[in-house]
Protein backbone atom coordinates (compact mmCIF):
# COMPACT_ATOMS: atom_id res chain seq x y z
CA UNK A 1 0.00 0.00 0.00
CA UNK A 2 1.28 3.43 -0.82
CA UNK A 3 2.81 5.46 1.98
CA UNK A 4 0.36 8.20 1.15
CA UNK A 5 -2.80 6.17 1.54
CA UNK A 6 -3.93 7.91 4.75
CA UNK A 7 -7.59 7.32 4.22
CA UNK A 8 -7.16 3.59 4.08
CA UNK A 9 -5.52 3.66 7.47
CA UNK A 10 -8.22 5.60 9.23
CA UNK A 11 -11.17 3.41 10.01
CA UNK A 12 -12.86 5.21 12.90
CA UNK A 13 -15.78 7.27 11.65
CA UNK A 14 -16.05 5.30 8.45
CA UNK A 15 -19.38 3.85 7.57
CA UNK A 16 -19.58 0.56 5.68
CA UNK A 17 -22.95 0.48 3.97
CA UNK A 18 -24.73 -2.84 4.33
CA UNK A 19 -28.01 -4.51 5.03
CA UNK A 20 -27.37 -6.59 8.14
CA UNK A 21 -29.71 -6.59 11.16
CA UNK A 22 -27.22 -4.38 12.96
CA UNK A 23 -27.28 -1.85 10.15
CA UNK A 24 -31.03 -1.64 10.27
CA UNK A 25 -31.35 -1.23 14.00
CA UNK A 26 -32.59 2.00 15.53
CA UNK A 27 -29.56 4.20 16.25
CA UNK A 28 -30.81 5.00 19.74
CA UNK A 29 -30.71 1.33 20.63
CA UNK A 30 -27.21 1.05 19.18
CA UNK A 31 -25.99 4.06 21.11
CA UNK A 32 -27.40 2.72 24.36
CA UNK A 33 -25.86 -0.65 23.62
CA UNK A 34 -22.49 0.94 22.99
CA UNK A 35 -22.74 2.90 26.22
CA UNK A 36 -23.63 -0.19 28.24
CA UNK A 37 -20.85 -2.06 26.53
CA UNK A 38 -18.21 0.51 27.34
CA UNK A 39 -19.30 0.58 30.96
CA UNK A 40 -19.21 -3.21 31.15
CA UNK A 41 -15.79 -3.57 29.56
CA UNK A 42 -14.31 -0.90 31.80
CA UNK A 43 -15.78 -2.51 34.93
CA UNK A 44 -14.83 -6.06 34.04
CA UNK A 45 -12.14 -7.57 36.22
CA UNK A 46 -11.76 -11.14 35.05
CA UNK A 47 -10.19 -12.63 31.97
CA UNK A 48 -13.20 -14.86 31.55
CA UNK A 49 -15.50 -11.87 31.41
CA UNK A 50 -13.20 -10.19 28.93
CA UNK A 51 -13.16 -13.32 26.78
CA UNK A 52 -16.95 -13.32 26.82
CA UNK A 53 -16.96 -9.65 25.79
CA UNK A 54 -14.50 -10.31 22.98
CA UNK A 55 -16.62 -13.19 21.76
CA UNK A 56 -19.74 -11.03 21.77
CA UNK A 57 -18.04 -8.27 19.77
CA UNK A 58 -16.72 -10.80 17.29
CA UNK A 59 -20.26 -12.14 16.94
CA UNK A 60 -21.46 -8.60 16.34
CA UNK A 61 -18.86 -8.08 13.62
CA UNK A 62 -19.93 -11.34 12.02
CA UNK A 63 -23.63 -10.45 12.09
CA UNK A 64 -22.84 -7.08 10.51
CA UNK A 65 -20.73 -8.81 7.84
CA UNK A 66 -17.68 -6.64 8.47
CA UNK A 67 -14.51 -8.11 6.93
CA UNK A 68 -12.20 -9.10 9.80
CA UNK A 69 -9.09 -7.57 8.23
CA UNK A 70 -10.77 -4.21 7.97
CA UNK A 71 -11.95 -4.26 11.56
CA UNK A 72 -8.54 -5.26 12.87
CA UNK A 73 -6.83 -2.40 11.09
CA UNK A 74 -7.64 0.13 13.79
CA UNK A 75 -6.41 -2.27 16.42
CA UNK A 76 -3.19 -2.76 14.50
CA UNK A 77 -2.45 0.95 14.57
CA UNK A 78 -2.88 1.10 18.32
CA UNK A 79 -0.78 -1.97 19.07
CA UNK A 80 2.59 -0.28 19.76
CA UNK A 81 0.94 2.08 22.20
CA UNK A 82 -0.91 -0.78 23.88
CA UNK A 83 2.22 -2.88 24.12
CA UNK A 84 3.95 -0.02 25.88
CA UNK A 85 1.10 0.39 28.36
CA UNK A 86 0.99 -3.34 29.01
CA UNK A 87 4.70 -3.47 29.69
CA UNK A 88 4.37 -0.59 32.14
CA UNK A 89 1.50 -2.34 33.89
CA UNK A 90 3.41 -5.56 34.23
CA UNK A 91 6.79 -4.21 35.20
CA UNK A 92 6.29 -0.99 37.05
CA UNK A 93 2.87 -0.53 38.64
CA UNK A 94 3.16 -1.37 42.31
CA UNK A 95 -0.53 -2.11 42.78
CA UNK A 96 -0.21 -5.16 40.63
CA UNK A 97 2.28 -6.98 42.73
CA UNK A 98 -0.05 -9.73 43.77
CA UNK A 99 0.19 -13.45 43.33
CA UNK A 100 3.35 -15.43 42.83
CA UNK A 101 6.55 -13.62 41.98
CA UNK A 102 7.94 -14.84 38.67
CA UNK A 103 11.01 -12.66 38.23
CA UNK A 104 12.76 -9.88 40.04
CA UNK A 105 15.47 -7.42 39.11
CA UNK A 106 16.20 -4.06 40.84
CA UNK A 107 12.89 -2.19 41.09
CA UNK A 108 11.18 -4.38 38.53
CA UNK A 109 8.96 -7.18 39.80
CA UNK A 110 6.95 -9.41 37.53
CA UNK A 111 4.07 -11.18 39.24
CA UNK A 112 1.14 -13.19 38.05
CA UNK A 113 -1.06 -10.36 39.21
CA UNK A 114 0.93 -7.98 37.06
CA UNK A 115 0.66 -10.21 34.03
CA UNK A 116 -3.07 -10.48 34.54
CA UNK A 117 -3.40 -6.70 34.77
CA UNK A 118 -1.38 -6.26 31.61
CA UNK A 119 -3.42 -8.80 29.69
CA UNK A 120 -6.67 -7.29 30.90
CA UNK A 121 -5.55 -3.83 29.83
CA UNK A 122 -4.71 -4.90 26.31
CA UNK A 123 -7.90 -6.93 26.01
CA UNK A 124 -9.96 -4.02 27.31
CA UNK A 125 -8.59 -1.62 24.73
CA UNK A 126 -8.93 -4.08 21.88
CA UNK A 127 -12.53 -4.88 22.72
CA UNK A 128 -13.37 -1.19 23.17
CA UNK A 129 -11.80 -0.23 19.85
CA UNK A 130 -13.61 -3.03 18.07
CA UNK A 131 -16.93 -2.17 19.71
CA UNK A 132 -16.74 1.51 18.80
CA UNK A 133 -15.63 0.62 15.30
CA UNK A 134 -18.57 -1.74 15.05
CA UNK A 135 -20.88 1.10 15.98
CA UNK A 136 -19.49 3.44 13.34
CA UNK A 137 -19.28 0.72 10.68
CA UNK A 138 -22.96 -0.08 11.01
CA UNK A 139 -24.32 3.37 11.68
CA UNK A 140 -23.96 6.28 9.33
CA UNK A 141 -22.82 9.40 11.15
CA UNK A 142 -26.14 10.75 10.13
CA UNK A 143 -28.11 8.12 11.99
CA UNK A 144 -25.73 8.47 14.92
CA UNK A 145 -26.47 12.14 15.12
CA UNK A 146 -30.20 11.63 14.92
CA UNK A 147 -30.05 8.92 17.55
CA UNK A 148 -27.99 11.11 19.83
CA UNK A 149 -30.24 14.09 19.35
CA UNK A 150 -33.37 12.08 20.05
CA UNK A 151 -31.82 10.65 23.20
CA UNK A 152 -30.80 14.09 24.40
CA UNK A 153 -34.05 15.76 23.52
CA UNK A 154 -35.70 15.31 26.93
CA UNK A 155 -32.79 17.25 28.38
CA UNK A 156 -33.55 20.21 26.16
CA UNK A 157 -36.12 21.32 28.70
CA UNK A 158 -33.29 21.68 31.17
CA UNK A 159 -31.52 24.01 28.77
CA UNK A 160 -29.24 21.47 27.05
CA UNK A 161 -28.76 22.41 23.37
CA UNK A 162 -29.40 18.91 22.05
CA UNK A 163 -29.46 19.71 18.37
CA UNK A 164 -26.33 21.82 18.44
CA UNK A 165 -24.44 19.14 20.35
CA UNK A 166 -25.54 16.41 18.04
CA UNK A 167 -24.63 18.50 15.01
CA UNK A 168 -21.20 19.26 16.46
CA UNK A 169 -20.61 15.57 17.08
CA UNK A 170 -21.77 14.68 13.59
CA UNK A 171 -19.58 17.22 11.84
CA UNK A 172 -16.59 16.22 13.98
CA UNK A 173 -16.99 12.54 13.17
CA UNK A 174 -17.57 13.30 9.52
CA UNK A 175 -14.43 15.40 9.39
CA UNK A 176 -12.11 12.55 10.32
CA UNK A 177 -11.95 10.97 6.86
CA UNK A 178 -11.97 14.42 5.25
CA UNK A 179 -9.00 15.49 7.33
CA UNK A 180 -7.21 12.28 6.44
CA UNK A 181 -7.72 13.04 2.75
CA UNK A 182 -6.55 16.59 3.21
CA UNK A 183 -3.48 15.48 5.15
CA UNK A 184 -2.71 13.06 2.35
CA UNK A 185 -2.91 15.84 -0.18
CA UNK A 186 -0.64 18.08 1.86
CA UNK A 187 1.88 15.32 2.43
CA UNK A 188 2.04 14.63 -1.29
CA UNK A 189 2.41 18.33 -2.07
CA UNK A 190 5.30 18.66 0.35
CA UNK A 191 6.93 15.50 -0.86
CA UNK A 192 6.75 17.06 -4.31
CA UNK A 193 8.75 20.02 -3.05
CA UNK A 194 11.59 17.74 -2.10
CA UNK A 195 10.24 17.31 1.38
CA UNK A 196 11.45 14.39 3.40
CA UNK A 197 8.06 12.84 3.72
CA UNK A 198 7.85 9.24 2.73
CA UNK A 199 11.50 9.08 1.76
CA UNK A 200 13.37 8.45 4.96
CA UNK A 201 12.73 5.21 6.77
CA UNK A 202 13.18 7.08 9.98
CA UNK A 203 12.29 6.34 13.54
CA UNK A 204 9.42 7.85 15.46
CA UNK A 205 11.12 11.21 15.98
CA UNK A 206 11.79 11.52 12.29
CA UNK A 207 8.21 10.83 11.42
CA UNK A 208 6.95 13.43 13.87
CA UNK A 209 9.38 15.92 12.32
CA UNK A 210 8.01 15.09 8.93
CA UNK A 211 4.44 15.57 10.07
CA UNK A 212 4.98 19.00 11.65
CA UNK A 213 4.91 21.08 8.43
CA UNK A 214 1.58 19.49 7.66
CA UNK A 215 -0.06 20.84 10.78
CA UNK A 216 -0.29 24.52 9.92
CA UNK A 217 -1.84 24.14 6.47
CA UNK A 218 -4.12 21.38 7.77
CA UNK A 219 -5.36 23.55 10.59
CA UNK A 220 -5.82 26.58 8.37
CA UNK A 221 -7.67 24.50 5.80
CA UNK A 222 -9.96 23.07 8.45
CA UNK A 223 -10.75 26.51 9.85
CA UNK A 224 -11.49 27.89 6.41
CA UNK A 225 -13.74 24.97 5.63
CA UNK A 226 -15.56 25.49 8.90
CA UNK A 227 -16.17 29.12 8.04
CA UNK A 228 -17.58 28.24 4.65
CA UNK A 229 -19.88 25.62 6.10
CA UNK A 230 -21.12 27.99 8.79
CA UNK A 231 -21.89 30.61 6.15
CA UNK A 232 -23.82 28.10 4.08
CA UNK A 233 -25.81 27.01 7.12
CA UNK A 234 -26.69 30.58 8.00
CA UNK A 235 -27.68 31.23 4.41
CA UNK A 236 -30.25 28.48 4.81
CA UNK A 237 -31.72 30.00 7.91
CA UNK A 238 -29.94 28.02 10.61
CA UNK A 239 -30.14 29.76 13.97
CA UNK A 240 -29.77 26.83 16.32
CA UNK A 241 -32.05 24.03 17.39
CA UNK A 242 -35.11 25.93 18.50
CA UNK A 243 -38.09 26.03 16.17
CA UNK A 244 -36.69 23.38 13.87
CA UNK A 245 -38.72 20.51 12.53
CA UNK A 246 -37.28 17.11 11.74
CA UNK A 247 -37.00 15.26 8.48
CA UNK A 248 -36.11 12.05 10.20
CA UNK A 249 -38.53 10.10 12.37
CA UNK A 250 -37.05 7.35 14.52
CA UNK A 251 -39.16 4.45 15.64
CA UNK A 252 -38.05 1.61 17.90
CA UNK A 253 -39.26 -1.79 16.82
CA UNK A 254 -39.61 -4.84 19.02
CA UNK A 255 -36.47 -6.31 17.45
CA UNK A 256 -34.56 -3.27 18.71
CA UNK A 257 -35.81 -3.75 22.26
CA UNK A 258 -34.90 -7.45 22.14
CA UNK A 259 -31.39 -6.73 20.90
CA UNK A 260 -30.97 -4.02 23.53
CA UNK A 261 -32.07 -6.39 26.28
CA UNK A 262 -29.74 -9.09 24.96
CA UNK A 263 -26.73 -6.83 24.96
CA UNK A 264 -27.54 -5.46 28.41
CA UNK A 265 -27.74 -9.04 29.63
CA UNK A 266 -24.35 -9.91 28.20
CA UNK A 267 -22.91 -6.69 29.60
CA UNK A 268 -24.07 -7.58 33.08
CA UNK A 269 -22.68 -11.09 32.67
CA UNK A 270 -19.33 -9.69 31.58
CA UNK A 271 -19.08 -7.64 34.74
CA UNK A 272 -20.22 -10.32 37.10
CA UNK A 273 -18.25 -13.27 35.76
Amino acid sequence: MSEFDFLGQVTIGQYLPGDSPLHRMDPRAKLLMALAWIAAVVACRSLLGMALAALAVAAGLWVARIPARFALRSVWRALPFLALLAVLQVLVMPGNRTGAVLWQWWIVTVTTGGLLAGALLVARFVVLILAISLLSFTTGTNDLMHGLEHLLRPLQRLGLPAHELALTFDIALRSVPLLALEAERLAKAQASRGGEFGGAKGGAIRRVQQALPLLVPLFLGALQRAERLALAMEARGYVGGRGRTQWVALRMRSADYVALALVLGIAVAVVLV
Binding site: G8, K188, S192, R193, G194, L220
Partner: protein, 289 residues
Amino acid sequence: MSELLIDVRGLRHTYMPGTPFASIALDGVDFRLESGETVGVVGSTGAGKSTLLQHLNGLYRPQEGEVHVLGRDLRDPGQDLREVRRSVGLVFQRPEQQIFSQYVGDDVAYGPRLLGLAGEALRERVRWAMDLVGLGFLDYKDRLTWTLSGGEQRKAALAGVLALQPRVLILDEPTAGLDPQARLGLLDDLRRLRAEGLALVVASHNMEDIALLADRLYVLQGGRVALEGPARQVLSQGERLRALGLDAPPVVNLLQALRDLGVSVGGDSLTLDEAEEALAAWLDGRRSP
Protein backbone atom coordinates in the same frame (compact mmCIF):
# COMPACT_ATOMS: atom_id res chain seq x y z
CA MET B 1 17.42 16.15 -30.85
CA SER B 2 14.69 15.28 -28.45
CA GLU B 3 14.97 13.01 -25.50
CA LEU B 4 12.27 10.81 -24.05
CA LEU B 5 11.89 12.15 -20.55
CA ILE B 6 8.89 10.17 -19.35
CA ASP B 7 7.68 6.83 -20.64
CA VAL B 8 4.58 5.18 -19.21
CA ARG B 9 3.10 1.90 -20.43
CA GLY B 10 0.06 0.00 -19.31
CA LEU B 11 -0.21 1.86 -16.02
CA ARG B 12 -2.89 0.65 -13.63
CA HIS B 13 -3.76 1.98 -10.22
CA THR B 14 -6.41 1.03 -7.69
CA TYR B 15 -7.11 3.13 -4.60
CA MET B 16 -7.50 1.30 -1.30
CA PRO B 17 -7.11 -2.11 -2.85
CA GLY B 18 -8.51 -4.99 -0.85
CA THR B 19 -11.01 -2.88 1.04
CA PRO B 20 -14.72 -2.34 0.41
CA PHE B 21 -13.81 1.15 -0.84
CA ALA B 22 -11.48 -0.01 -3.61
CA SER B 23 -11.78 1.96 -6.85
CA ILE B 24 -9.86 1.77 -10.11
CA ALA B 25 -8.31 5.11 -10.94
CA LEU B 26 -6.13 4.12 -13.91
CA ASP B 27 -6.90 1.21 -16.18
CA GLY B 28 -4.01 0.78 -18.60
CA VAL B 29 -2.60 4.18 -19.56
CA ASP B 30 0.27 4.90 -21.96
CA PHE B 31 1.95 8.29 -21.82
CA ARG B 32 5.09 9.93 -23.20
CA LEU B 33 6.83 13.22 -22.67
CA GLU B 34 9.75 14.36 -24.82
CA SER B 35 12.13 17.16 -24.00
CA GLY B 36 10.97 20.66 -24.86
CA GLU B 37 7.34 19.81 -25.40
CA THR B 38 4.23 20.71 -23.46
CA VAL B 39 1.70 17.93 -23.06
CA GLY B 40 -1.84 18.53 -21.89
CA VAL B 41 -3.92 16.05 -19.90
CA VAL B 42 -7.65 16.63 -19.83
CA GLY B 43 -10.64 14.71 -18.59
CA SER B 44 -13.68 15.21 -16.44
CA THR B 45 -13.51 14.84 -12.67
CA GLY B 46 -12.65 11.30 -11.74
CA ALA B 47 -11.13 10.43 -15.10
CA GLY B 48 -7.75 9.82 -13.50
CA LYS B 49 -5.78 12.98 -14.32
CA SER B 50 -4.43 13.64 -10.84
CA THR B 51 -3.57 9.98 -10.30
CA LEU B 52 -1.59 9.88 -13.53
CA LEU B 53 0.25 13.08 -12.66
CA GLN B 54 1.18 11.73 -9.24
CA HIS B 55 2.86 8.77 -10.86
CA LEU B 56 4.98 10.99 -13.07
CA ASN B 57 6.96 12.49 -10.21
CA GLY B 58 7.33 9.34 -8.19
CA LEU B 59 4.72 9.93 -5.52
CA TYR B 60 3.47 6.48 -6.31
CA ARG B 61 5.31 3.38 -7.40
CA PRO B 62 3.35 1.73 -10.21
CA GLN B 63 1.13 -1.12 -9.01
CA GLU B 64 1.00 -2.52 -12.52
CA GLY B 65 2.67 -1.37 -15.72
CA GLU B 66 5.87 0.55 -16.32
CA VAL B 67 6.91 4.07 -15.50
CA HIS B 68 10.29 5.40 -16.59
CA VAL B 69 11.14 8.93 -15.55
CA LEU B 70 14.41 10.54 -16.67
CA GLY B 71 15.89 7.15 -17.21
CA ARG B 72 14.85 5.76 -13.85
CA ASP B 73 12.58 2.75 -13.56
CA LEU B 74 10.04 3.46 -10.86
CA ARG B 75 9.20 -0.21 -10.45
CA ASP B 76 12.67 -0.83 -9.11
CA PRO B 77 12.32 -1.04 -5.32
CA GLY B 78 15.89 0.20 -4.94
CA GLN B 79 15.02 3.44 -6.73
CA ASP B 80 14.96 6.35 -4.32
CA LEU B 81 11.72 8.11 -5.18
CA ARG B 82 12.82 11.29 -3.47
CA GLU B 83 15.38 11.78 -6.21
CA VAL B 84 12.64 11.55 -8.80
CA ARG B 85 10.50 14.07 -6.92
CA ARG B 86 13.34 16.55 -6.99
CA SER B 87 13.95 16.35 -10.71
CA VAL B 88 10.29 16.36 -11.67
CA GLY B 89 8.40 19.20 -10.06
CA LEU B 90 4.69 18.74 -9.39
CA VAL B 91 2.60 21.76 -8.53
CA PHE B 92 -0.72 20.80 -7.02
CA GLN B 93 -4.06 22.45 -7.40
CA ARG B 94 -4.21 25.55 -5.23
CA PRO B 95 -0.56 25.24 -4.20
CA GLU B 96 -0.90 28.30 -1.97
CA GLN B 97 -2.69 25.96 0.42
CA GLN B 98 0.57 24.10 0.89
CA ILE B 99 2.64 27.09 1.87
CA PHE B 100 3.71 26.66 5.46
CA SER B 101 6.43 29.20 6.01
CA GLN B 102 5.77 32.67 7.30
CA TYR B 103 8.00 34.48 4.86
CA VAL B 104 8.03 34.11 1.11
CA GLY B 105 11.80 33.79 0.90
CA ASP B 106 11.83 31.01 3.48
CA ASP B 107 9.13 29.10 1.70
CA VAL B 108 10.88 29.22 -1.65
CA ALA B 109 14.13 28.19 0.07
CA TYR B 110 12.60 25.05 1.60
CA GLY B 111 13.27 22.77 -1.35
CA PRO B 112 16.79 23.88 -2.26
CA ARG B 113 17.77 23.81 1.39
CA LEU B 114 16.85 20.15 1.50
CA LEU B 115 19.01 19.66 -1.57
CA GLY B 116 21.94 20.83 0.48
CA LEU B 117 22.24 24.41 -0.71
CA ALA B 118 23.23 27.00 1.85
CA GLY B 119 24.49 30.54 2.23
CA GLU B 120 25.08 32.49 -0.95
CA ALA B 121 24.26 29.57 -3.23
CA LEU B 122 20.88 29.23 -1.54
CA ARG B 123 20.14 32.92 -1.90
CA GLU B 124 21.02 32.83 -5.56
CA ARG B 125 18.78 29.87 -6.20
CA VAL B 126 15.86 31.54 -4.42
CA ARG B 127 16.44 34.77 -6.31
CA TRP B 128 16.55 32.88 -9.59
CA ALA B 129 13.31 31.05 -8.89
CA MET B 130 11.46 34.16 -7.77
CA ASP B 131 12.62 36.09 -10.80
CA LEU B 132 11.31 33.34 -13.05
CA VAL B 133 7.79 33.89 -11.76
CA GLY B 134 8.01 37.64 -11.63
CA LEU B 135 8.21 38.08 -7.87
CA GLY B 136 11.10 40.47 -7.33
CA PHE B 137 13.52 38.90 -4.85
CA LEU B 138 14.19 41.97 -2.75
CA ASP B 139 10.56 43.10 -2.77
CA TYR B 140 8.99 39.82 -1.84
CA LYS B 141 11.43 37.74 0.13
CA ASP B 142 10.46 39.25 3.47
CA ARG B 143 6.76 39.55 2.79
CA LEU B 144 4.40 37.52 4.93
CA THR B 145 2.95 34.73 2.82
CA TRP B 146 -0.60 35.25 4.01
CA THR B 147 -0.64 38.91 2.97
CA LEU B 148 -0.09 38.12 -0.69
CA SER B 149 -2.90 38.15 -3.20
CA GLY B 150 -4.17 34.85 -4.61
CA GLY B 151 -2.15 35.27 -7.78
CA GLU B 152 1.02 36.18 -5.89
CA GLN B 153 0.64 33.20 -3.57
CA ARG B 154 0.26 30.97 -6.58
CA LYS B 155 3.48 32.35 -8.04
CA ALA B 156 5.30 31.92 -4.73
CA ALA B 157 4.24 28.29 -4.59
CA LEU B 158 5.40 27.80 -8.16
CA ALA B 159 8.75 29.39 -7.33
CA GLY B 160 9.13 26.92 -4.48
CA VAL B 161 8.96 24.05 -6.93
CA LEU B 162 11.09 25.73 -9.59
CA ALA B 163 13.77 26.33 -7.00
CA LEU B 164 14.53 22.61 -7.21
CA GLN B 165 15.45 23.20 -10.87
CA PRO B 166 13.44 20.30 -12.15
CA ARG B 167 13.79 19.17 -15.75
CA VAL B 168 10.08 18.59 -16.00
CA LEU B 169 7.32 20.71 -14.51
CA ILE B 170 3.89 19.20 -13.94
CA LEU B 171 0.94 21.42 -13.11
CA ASP B 172 -2.46 20.29 -11.87
CA GLU B 173 -5.10 22.93 -12.74
CA PRO B 174 -2.64 25.85 -12.67
CA THR B 175 -5.19 28.62 -13.19
CA ALA B 176 -8.07 27.25 -11.10
CA GLY B 177 -9.44 29.87 -8.75
CA LEU B 178 -7.41 32.74 -10.19
CA ASP B 179 -9.07 35.94 -11.36
CA PRO B 180 -8.58 36.75 -15.08
CA GLN B 181 -5.57 39.03 -14.62
CA ALA B 182 -3.74 36.61 -12.39
CA ARG B 183 -4.51 33.85 -14.83
CA LEU B 184 -3.03 35.71 -17.76
CA GLY B 185 0.05 36.51 -15.70
CA LEU B 186 0.56 32.87 -14.83
CA LEU B 187 0.08 31.75 -18.43
CA ASP B 188 2.77 34.21 -19.46
CA ASP B 189 5.12 32.75 -16.85
CA LEU B 190 4.45 29.25 -18.14
CA ARG B 191 5.08 30.26 -21.72
CA ARG B 192 8.34 31.84 -20.68
CA LEU B 193 9.39 28.66 -18.89
CA ARG B 194 8.55 26.70 -21.99
CA ALA B 195 10.69 29.03 -24.06
CA GLU B 196 13.58 28.38 -21.70
CA GLY B 197 13.38 24.70 -22.57
CA LEU B 198 11.43 23.29 -19.66
CA ALA B 199 9.16 20.38 -20.54
CA LEU B 200 5.66 20.82 -19.15
CA VAL B 201 2.73 18.59 -18.37
CA VAL B 202 -0.49 20.49 -17.73
CA ALA B 203 -3.74 19.00 -16.46
CA SER B 204 -6.68 21.34 -16.75
CA HIS B 205 -10.41 21.79 -17.19
CA ASN B 206 -9.77 25.11 -18.82
CA MET B 207 -9.73 24.32 -22.53
CA GLU B 208 -8.54 27.79 -23.38
CA ASP B 209 -5.42 27.30 -21.24
CA ILE B 210 -4.77 23.99 -22.94
CA ALA B 211 -5.17 25.60 -26.33
CA LEU B 212 -2.59 28.23 -25.41
CA LEU B 213 -0.02 25.88 -23.95
CA ALA B 214 -0.20 22.31 -25.22
CA ASP B 215 1.61 20.80 -28.18
CA ARG B 216 0.11 17.37 -27.62
CA LEU B 217 -2.91 16.25 -25.70
CA TYR B 218 -4.21 13.19 -23.83
CA VAL B 219 -7.92 12.93 -23.09
CA LEU B 220 -8.70 10.60 -20.20
CA GLN B 221 -11.98 8.98 -19.40
CA GLY B 222 -12.64 6.29 -16.83
CA GLY B 223 -8.94 5.78 -16.24
CA ARG B 224 -8.11 5.20 -19.89
CA VAL B 225 -6.81 7.31 -22.75
CA ALA B 226 -9.87 8.02 -24.88
CA LEU B 227 -8.24 10.39 -27.31
CA GLU B 228 -4.74 11.60 -27.98
CA GLY B 229 -2.72 13.45 -30.56
CA PRO B 230 -1.49 16.88 -31.56
CA ALA B 231 -3.41 19.55 -29.68
CA ARG B 232 -4.75 21.16 -32.79
CA GLN B 233 -6.21 17.89 -33.97
CA VAL B 234 -7.79 16.87 -30.67
CA LEU B 235 -9.19 20.26 -29.71
CA SER B 236 -11.03 20.73 -32.99
CA GLN B 237 -13.20 17.68 -32.31
CA GLY B 238 -15.94 19.50 -30.41
CA GLU B 239 -18.54 16.75 -30.60
CA ARG B 240 -16.16 14.05 -29.46
CA LEU B 241 -14.90 16.17 -26.58
CA ARG B 242 -18.40 16.99 -25.38
CA ALA B 243 -19.30 13.31 -25.45
CA LEU B 244 -16.31 12.74 -23.16
CA GLY B 245 -17.57 15.30 -20.68
CA LEU B 246 -15.35 18.11 -21.89
CA ASP B 247 -15.57 20.81 -24.53
CA ALA B 248 -13.60 22.48 -27.26
CA PRO B 249 -11.97 25.84 -26.48
CA PRO B 250 -14.40 28.79 -26.72
CA VAL B 251 -12.80 30.00 -29.94
CA VAL B 252 -13.36 26.66 -31.66
CA ASN B 253 -17.01 26.61 -30.62
CA LEU B 254 -17.54 30.20 -31.71
CA LEU B 255 -16.02 29.61 -35.15
CA GLN B 256 -18.13 26.51 -35.59
CA ALA B 257 -21.22 28.50 -34.69
CA LEU B 258 -20.22 31.14 -37.21
CA ARG B 259 -19.82 28.50 -39.88
CA ASP B 260 -23.29 27.17 -39.08
CA LEU B 261 -24.61 30.68 -39.62
CA GLY B 262 -23.05 31.04 -43.03
CA VAL B 263 -19.61 32.46 -42.30
CA SER B 264 -17.46 29.87 -44.03
CA VAL B 265 -14.23 30.70 -42.24
CA GLY B 266 -11.57 28.08 -42.76
CA GLY B 267 -8.67 26.81 -40.74
CA ASP B 268 -8.39 25.16 -37.35
CA SER B 269 -7.89 28.14 -35.06
CA LEU B 270 -7.57 27.43 -31.38
CA THR B 271 -6.78 30.83 -29.95
CA LEU B 272 -8.08 34.38 -30.30
CA ASP B 273 -5.03 35.42 -32.31
CA GLU B 274 -5.51 32.61 -34.80
CA ALA B 275 -9.24 33.23 -35.04
CA GLU B 276 -8.60 36.88 -35.72
CA GLU B 277 -6.31 35.99 -38.60
CA ALA B 278 -8.73 33.45 -40.01
CA LEU B 279 -11.67 35.84 -39.91
CA ALA B 280 -9.58 38.66 -41.36
CA ALA B 281 -8.63 36.35 -44.20
CA TRP B 282 -12.29 35.51 -44.72
CA LEU B 283 -13.23 39.18 -44.84
CA ASP B 284 -10.38 39.87 -47.25
CA GLY B 285 -11.69 37.08 -49.40
CA ARG B 286 -15.04 38.88 -49.59
CA ARG B 287 -13.34 42.03 -50.83
CA SER B 288 -12.77 40.88 -54.36
CA PRO B 289 -16.10 40.05 -55.94
